[in-house]
């Protein structure tokens, strides 16, 4: 295809604003899928994505429209995948910015719009769902136009559901989005904007050819990591895989690499020819680092090998998932896993439970801390139990956050952000009654229950997005939990000094409720170093004996005792105290935390 007949674009939208429905209509209208093949949300191939209504992995579909080749590049819609979104956007020249005609601009809309602007994309503003009774297309069009500096008249008004205005959207893509500008004669360069793993064919790279062209069986090299492989097959999606003779400058498609590990071909990489390599990679490659960490333990310790295998398999398809073995005195063998964010964590957990049928215990999430030791050594700590006791300085990750709320809830949101050590940056009226609040917040304050709090304090009207802002020194401290004087590794936490007392107290009270009475008094304490900040006592049992035991009872009583003994084996021994796994669950489990 001639370069000037190619248009590459993506759709960016807040969750539920109709991105997938619009994609479906486009596929129908361009006869890319027949009505018979059509099913809801064709692009979201994973079961989980369909259920959650979100898109995890970007994909690209080629459609034909009035003699043009249009490549629709789908983007993940969530903050955790900002880097992936940015790579997808880098593969495009234009973006449809879709906003719900009733709800208006949301925090994610903003974040994605800024990303698109940063990537120099032509933005086609679209107000969707104009068929809804509560739709207010004029107001929302005005908000949108204001956001991107556009004439409100140029904002398209459509209903992806009914199909109204969708043809005009495609026309606008052809008219307004520039054709790709690469040099077809230059040494080939292609941006890897996503990849997936196929059990038979290895890593499949989704690419945008920028310069030159690629052909099947060609030797290729990735310019950041130096991975070499042969392009086993090239092609595009329409919407299923169609092999092609080549991918020319400006085109979007896939390359089957035969590589056995997605980590060897990271998103953001530049591919070039092994024979005639380009001299410079495309800009913007970043090695994405996990920011949120949690321990994953099998509820049944016998399932450890299964968990290990499952993580290995997930990692094949998810280069941003990090894990390493972790041994906890309380929970046994498991893995400390690193995630891009909370949603990423939830997705991994659900996939492990659903696709691999594992029963998991997930410890309360924590963030990556940077610690300067008195020796001058700088280390990164992903697990509170590994926080050294002697530290010079602790730094924690901060985020810049955007919260959009109706003006009536501004007070509640400010209160929440202040409670969470937020630093107010900016407040801006997007329209008469909708306000954008900007706060700088420690990520650690977000990972626990910030979303839930935000939701409940704004009755679900707030939308939230964030961007990593860097590490800052904090007044952080390690709180240890001691049961009968023994510190329990899995329960240690790192927390701001101001919150240490309340949290320590809450944990200690919870444990007192959860740990059964023992044969002696058991103190449960929270401590900072050697200073106890909260204490509860589990009073000793006064009686634990079977009343009667005569000739006819002996077998039954013996079996009772053996069961009691077996029950003890299932308990975790902390010093002389037997703690049931459930007690740890109650304190550690993320769900328990939220409840």
């Amino acid at each position: 295809m001639q370069q000037d007949r190619i248009r590459n674009f993506s759709i960016i939208a807040h969750i539920d604003h109709g991105k997938s429905t619009l994609a479906d209509r486009i596929l129908e209208l361009t006869h890319t899928v027949s009505g018979r093949e059509m099913r809801e949300q064709v692009l979201d191939s994973m079961e989980l994505e369909r259920e959650r209504g979100i898109t995890i992995k970007a994909q690209a579909v080629r459609v034909a429209w009035k003699g043009y080749e249009l490549n629709l590049i789908d983007t993940p819609g969530h903050v955790d995948f900002t880097y992936e979104v940015s790579r997808s956007l880098q593969a495009c020249e234009g973006a449809l910015l879709v906003v719900d005609a009733a709800q208006g601009i949301q925090a994610q809309t903003l974040a994605n719009a800024y990303l698109a602007i940063e990537n120099n994309l032509e933005i086609v503003a679209v107000v969707n769902k104009i068929d809804l009774p509560q739709a207010d297309p004029d107001r929302v069009a005005a908000e949108l136009a204001d956001l991107i500096g556009e004439d409100p008249e140029r904002v398209l008004r459509i209903s992806a559901k009914t199909g109204e205005g969708v043809a005009e959207v495609l026309d606008a893509v052809v008219e307004r989005v520039p054709a790709p500008a690469g040099d077809p004669a230059a040494p080939p360069r292609a941006l890897v904007f996503d990849s997936s793993y196929d059990q038979y064919r290895g890593v499949v790279a989704f690419v945008r050819t920028v310069d030159g062209s690629f052909t099947p069986r060609e030797r290729l090299t990735s310019m950041a990591t130096g991975t070499r492989f042969e392009a086993e097959e090239l092609g595009f999606f329409a919407p299923t895989m169609r092999a092609a003779d080549g991918l020319g400058a400006g085109e979007v498609g896939y390359i089957i690499t035969g590589l056995k590990d997605v980590a060897r071909l990271r998103v953001g990489e530049t591919l070039t020819s092994g024979a005639t390599p380009a001299s410079e990679p495309l800009p913007g490659y970043k090695d994405v680092k996990p920011m949120v960490f949690a321990g994953l333990f099998p509820t049944d310790s016998d399932e450890y090998p299964e968990l290990r295998d499952a993580l290995e398999k997930l990692k094949l398809n998810d280069a941003s998932l990090a894990y390493e073995p972790e041994t906890s005195q309380a929970l046994g063998f498991g893995f400390r896993c690193g995630f891009l964010g909370l949603l990423h964590m939830e997705i991994v957990r659900e996939r492990l439970e659903r696709e691999f049928d594992l029963d998991l215990l997930v410890t309360a999430p924590t963030v990556a801390y940077r610690v300067l030791r008195p020796t001058g050594e700088l280390i990164e700590v992903h697990n509170p139990a590994e926080m050294p006791r002697e530290v010079e300085r602790i730094e924690e990750p901060y985020i810049n956050s955007d919260v959009i709320v109706p003006k009536d809830y501004v007070g509640s949101v400010m209160e929440l952000c202040n409670e969470r050590r937020g630093r107010f940056d900016q407040m801006e009226y997007l329209s008469e009654d909708r306000v954008l609040l900007k706060y700088e917040l420690p990520l650690a304050e977000i990972v626990l229950d910030f979303y839930d709090q935000l939701k409940s304090r704004t009755r679900g009207y707030a939308s939230f997005d964030y961007d990593f802002a860097g590490f800052r020194e904090g007044e952080l401290t390690r709180v240890d939990i001691l049961i009968a004087g023994e510190p329990v590794d899995a329960l240690s936490l790192i927390i701001h000094r101001d919150g240490a007392y309340a949290r320590g107290r809450a944990l200690v009270e919870r444990l007192r409720e959860e740990i059964p009475r023992q044969m002696f008094d058991v103190p449960v304490q929270a401590a900072i170093g050697s200073r106890v900040i909260a204490r509860e006592t589990i009073k000793a049992k006064r009686k634990d004996v079977l009343a009667k035991c005569y000739g006819g009872d002996i077998t039954r009583k013996r079996k009772l005792l053996e069961r009691q003994k077996a029950g003890k084996k299932r308990m975790k021994q902390v010093g002389a105290v037997e703690v049931p796994q459930e007690a740890f669950l109650a304190v550690l489990n993320l769900d328990g935390e939220r409840r």
Binding site: M519, K548, G552, T555, K568
Partner: protein, 372 residues
Amino acid sequence: MSGHVRHLYLHLPFCAHRCGYCDFVTIVGGSEHGAYVDGLLAELQLERASLHVELDTIFLGGGTPTFTEPRALERLLRALPAAREVTVEANPETVTPELASLLVDYGVNRVSLGAQSFQSHVLRTLERVAGPDDVRRAVYALRVANVDNLSLDLIYGVPGQSPSDLEADLREALVLEPEHLSCYELEAKPGTRFTHAHGSELLRQADAMEGYFEQVVRQLTAAGYRWYETANFCLTGERAHGRDLRAQHNLGYWSGRDYLGLGIGAVSTIDGERRRNTPRLAVYLRSLADGRRPPRDLEALTAEVRKRERVMLGLRLDEPLVLEGMEDAVDLEAARRLERSGLTRLGGTAATLALTRRGRFLGGGVTAQLLV
């Protein structure tokens, strides 16, 4: 040829009424008392070879052995071999002067009386037939008949029983100067009529139960009784007049000695094998009428299991358990740990193991930790 078993148990299942909390093998009323005694005697003949010529103890338990039709009971007692201790369980309302004489005439020298309580409302909750005065009358009748080894059973933890009710029960029992007392916490088995009726009340008083057990031990030991087994107390020293008033038959169980049990549902443990007779009366009677042993469940007790039982039972007693030969059944490290917590006492150079007073209240949990 004679065997080595010196303890004989006979089960007499008949009762006037089945109390709601009871989970023993019982038969209400019954017209087959005579046929049943025939069955018992036939079974005794079949098992005789395992009995030693000189028996230590015989125990007639139930059911309500004294509810058995007197002629049938008499026939049974007459046919039994002699033993140093012959105990019969009795319910107060069945004890008449005539019955008392009958028992004594046929060699019964110990009676275990199911008093349970002296409070009318508690007895009603337990669905006992007897009232408080029946208990006193029964004791009087037995004393008149020269029964000089009398045990009273008491139950505590009954729904509606207050600490002062329990205090009164113990006080009134002590007035009767029994040689022996058994005090049981009410065990409400799941699924029984009783648990169904009183479950929520039992749950509510679960915490108070801890105090009840302590109260029983405190009050009875203060009155000079020896707390010789978890739930059993006996007179000691001068007041025992030189006699060992512990229940010798039960001491046989707790010391791991072999015993022969006859009757429906009865259990025997002989030569490393535990047998439980069928609980079904018709099946039992038919087998014995045919000259066959009744059907029974068998359980082979390995040396390891026998040791565990020795530890489990032995630690219920107030005398230290001799550890020789028990090394692989007892976790000595746990014993030392528990000793530091004030729950066990290792004697000699770990030659014996005993529970402290507090350890005995927690005997179940302590034993579970001590077993390997």
